[in-house]
Symmetry: D3
Subunit: 275 residues, 6 copies
């Protein structure tokens, strides 16, 4: 984290209150962060940086992506009680949200790979404004693929581009406009569009809102026409923990799932002073 | 929203990519934002400000806190297609996250008030770093109470303060240190502590992790000792949609519930260009 | 102080001039900060943080809120002469402005409490834009109450609200809109309004621009009507060092005084290199 | 003002509270800013920019540097009541602080120029951290000279430089290090140093903490030695409204006075809604 | 440009000087921006946004990427003279630097494509800190490819990665760590490494510091081994206007050239008030 | 450098990518920065500050303004490989751009001073937006004068001021408006204007776009009229390495040259990991 990110988040929680009012500033104590439920740890690297910023000492037996069991002591802290209380909520919120996402991603990955060992489970841009960087990292820690970070890495031609320009023109324009360092993806809703996009040359085709059967059919047609080979195929839209295995089993390369971030709930952590 | 907040969130999504690469910058179009499922609208005021920032024209028949039915057209847009595509994801993420929280809060409020018409359903500081302001506002739109924003409004003596200083000293110190403009709340886990805190004089007592039965008992003892009257009593810890009614029925003034924010999922919205 | 606050203030004074032009960057020296006149020390904690930022070593026998006598050596410094010269003016300005306010507050507190030992002397929002956090802290160090920091903590219904909505509607709207964690205060100019506000239920009533006699009368009527008990009463408007004792003696809980910040003058400090 | 400055100051006062809670957002009203006492107007240009930012309409018959009489209506406003209430305190604080300084400066200028019509009354860097730009501008509006803004415009060799390097070396080093576009000033405490500095070639000599008699003597010696001509001579240290005329009458070019900013008190303004 | 970028650049040039001191703020005038030499226009879109920010009216017959002839009037301006003078230097610096780069890129593209019509001329990350976004855009306007913006889009395994990990391990690690949405490029200095990288599967191979002959040989070996087909081959290192045609003629897909940015000189523009 | 400047530049290059993906975060290594060509070192102080920020250890035998020979090892580094790779490009870009400018300035200074030992070679405001501070410092390191930093130090009356107000009025207005701490310069294109400006009293006259002969003639006329003495005379416009000596030899005090920054190319540096 940049120092300015740490201060931006701390300021959100502390406002103008730089000085703990209740606990004497000379009080020193130990504290422990424990997890309340099983899950996958994410956000540890971030919170350790926050402890460094606050001048707190710490030790831990874990690293991000480790499995946690309820009651595990994730970090042991030592230092100014006032400073521990000042960073407490931010640190718990980061651990909670990131581990919550990582845990959910991990469940999806397990389920999806039971249907297709090589499938990639990917996130989307459906993240909380102001916290995407950490939600994307949590996806990676959970074993998923963050997908593009924002508009400035891979280029995706989406439904609205197609509505505005038509598929052929959109692909042509994109290919002439984007850097050779960036991949070109297109989101299509019909098999016809998928085949046309493949023949016009893109790197990735996202099959949006198709049933697993439709996805399978599309993959076969791409195979038949010899276009499958150089393409990554991504299924997206309406994929849940219930059907992700079926989607994976179609042979797609990637399943991308908005709810990895927009429907994740935080994992419970708490911080207790030990005197 | 401040201009700097809008630009901070936009920059997160767009990076250095100021210029839509695919759609000609002269293209003008209409677009509609529709909701995919029933829920309570929140975030509209924010996204209209973003449209103003982007120079887009809009109309809407809704205001925040309105009930939405799946397929409702929430906003109609007109303007530069490139600019619509640039703000699309941010706008949908704001509407989705805020409406998701508002919808969940509304459900809790309905359920809780079926047990006690006067109960207040409140949030906590368990929010996503960088987006608290909007999550708190979503709670209010949903009919809940945002609770304190951060460390700088009401003062809460929490478990860690008690561990460090003991209840009596913590209350004394807090009362001497905080402004008369701020309320003093204390979080207790036993009835004894609640009674002692009440007699030492605080504004709000949070009964943490007590069963509804325990809460009731505590309220009765406070009543008996004549201390109930000037106090707000808040129940917190482990309150879910299943038991919120029972907690409310104990007669507490407030139930505060972390999962209003940390376990909310986004409401689905989409934006479609209409040509 | 956040690092970004330190850099914001330093940049104001140093602009693009990162490098001391005259003194060789290898020169190391001692320096002392002395106070030129009697007063109350405030801002020490801030300037020590600035010395930490600049990598300077320091020692001091004082803490904030200590009484200073003219010529006292407040801080002894050791380190890079160039860095000492770079932070000199900022550090003196912070000490000067904060100690000036703290000293003035202390004088008001002494005077007021000679009339009523239990009275609270409070500041207002009449502060210098960009420096409120430190002016409010100086008030606290001087023994005063900072009053609400800004619009986002306690809610105050002021004359303009009354002009727009009337007293009854304003109170009703405020009570339905604000969090249970926040106090509700109302500013009134007549005894009638004070009584009505008290009966409608607010936490604090500010009697604005009333003479001490009027204030007394109002307190008696509130007493008589049994409404005094749960209320904090604040007198405000035109309170000076000359009449503050009289106001305090009326029995109000708080006297709030804009001139604690808007009419404070800095206390004199200087920094001298000792070679 | 830059938009980011406006938002920085507004955020200080409003925190996360973007939305007025009491007054309906649809309410539109008129309002007037009046001055409570005689003085010199400063800060008008800034507050009009804030009204533009807030989308408020305004009219005024004044411009900065105009004399104000108590009860003058300085600005008439029209627009959203919620927005008027949101900017009210910031706007009054800017007008108050800037006009307070301008008024004080004007008094010093009148007094000083009664002793020497050509004397310049200048400020110092003893300003409130975070608000210097506006305090310096207030000095100019009041008829004074802002003096250097910070370390990055004119170079001043001060007592601490002399302690570290001696006068001759400091001047030599400065002359070799600074741009030809910048003036070189030196602060001296003895006539000997003044003469030596003059002979070594500087642009401005500040006679620090000398009595008017001493200043006069120094000027005569400079005259005699033919060095006065190309120099600006500035008197500084302990100059008050009582003695400024005497200092001016010595024939110095400039009197610089820290208390123009560090001892100024705000001029009273108030904003009233007119319904 | 974001408003904050405009203000960041303006503040660099104007500092605390918000108000033009010489020209009356009521003066209105016309002005013209003319180009002093032939070249390719870039930066127009940016400067028009700055004029919008400053409230200036403008007209132009050009768009970015247009060829300019010495003395062409690029933009006609109308509005406040003070504001025109305030933005003048920033606007000229943006036009100058961006057009200078675009012009140079265009010359390289012409020369390179005379050797190989399909070759792409690309930039690098050797840009001026703080201005990359605009230098990259100038490359695009000049007909070049911006190459990756920074570390966060395409991943490039460079010489230092190879020194640390060896080629095979570096590719393996990268392939397992990066998102499917990102391309993987490797920089190699020998033909052996190029062949090995190709067989391990990367998207782009950069042949660093090879002679055109060596590049040709490498391409042939890749062809022979059937690996050329799915790869983009980029030549880099020591490519100048003199040899770019020869490099292009080897059949590489891309030539990337640091001096497009690090050795570009500004194109001359000037702004003249027309009264 | 301020921490916020370091983070602003780093963020430009690294975006959201806080974590090196390829090299294990535990890998520690040595590295060397070498220069590829002869030149003058500038930017070292800045890059050492960046290494401090990144927690890297370093040693160097050089300081800014030292002459470098191709292949010199400028800095030796030790620390986290991931962190070295993260700052590598920023550090090389700073060294390259600053040393490139310093080297070019040094060449101009040598050439100019061969014609007139006392001449000052100065830069202009024709710098890259966002990087002026460092380009100005590079000019100083190269032995040149940075000229005014921006609009807020010396005041220059330029052609556009003359077009708007005429010379006499512009000088009068400027003299009444600017602080005594600032120098007043005027840019003129005719000898008549130079003489008039001299007689009206300015500190510096810039002779713009005059031939050396014209400059000489102007200097003689100023001499004759006894006005030369108190003035600095600056020649500007069209000065190149070819004619700078001739301009210097006219006896002007300063030659100012935009191409010191706008036409400088970077000096080549590279960073190599040593395992």
């Amino acid at each position: 984290m940049l120092l300015k990110e740490i201060e931006h988040f701390l300021e959100e929680d502390c406002g103008h209150e730089d000085y703990e009012l209740i606990v004497p500033i000379t009080t020193v104590c130990n504290a422990e962060i424990t997890v309340k439920e099983d899950g996958l740890l994410a956000g540890l690297e971030e919170v350790l940086q926050i402890f460094d910023y606050a001048g707190l000492k710490y030790s831990t037996e874990f690293t991000d992506a480790d499995a946690l069991r309820a009651e595990d002591v994730v970090v042991r802290l030592h230092g100014s009680a006032a400073k521990i209380l000042k960073v407490e909520r931010l640190v718990l919120n980061i651990l909670g949200r990131m581990s919550g996402i990582a845990t959910l991603v991990h469940e999806y990955v397990e389920e999806a790979q039971s249907g297709n060992y090589h499938v990639t489970v990917a996130g989307t841009r459906k993240t909380t404004p102001g916290f995407r960087k950490y939600e994307k990292r949590a996806i990676m820690i959970g074993g998923g693929d963050p997908h593009r970070f924002g508009l400035a890495d891979a280029v995706i031609i989406k439904d609205n581009h197609l509505a505005l320009m038509g598929l052929e023109q959109a692909i042509k324009k994109a290919k002439s406009a984007i850097s050779f360092t960036r991949k070109l993806e297109i989101e299509v809703e019909t098999i016809e569009d998928a085949l046309q996009a493949a023949s016009l040359g893109v790197d990735i085709i996202m099959l949006d809102n198709m049933t697993p059967t439709k996805v399978k059919e599309c993959l076969q047609l791409l195979n038949t026409s010899g276009l499958r080979d150089r393409l990554l195929i991504e299924a997206s839209g309406g994929i849940t923990k219930e059907n992700v295995r079926e989607y994976a089993a179609t042979g797609v390369d990637i399943v991308s799932i908005g709810r990895l971030t927009y429907a994740a709930r935080s994992l419970g952590f708490s911080l207790h002073v030990r005197t």
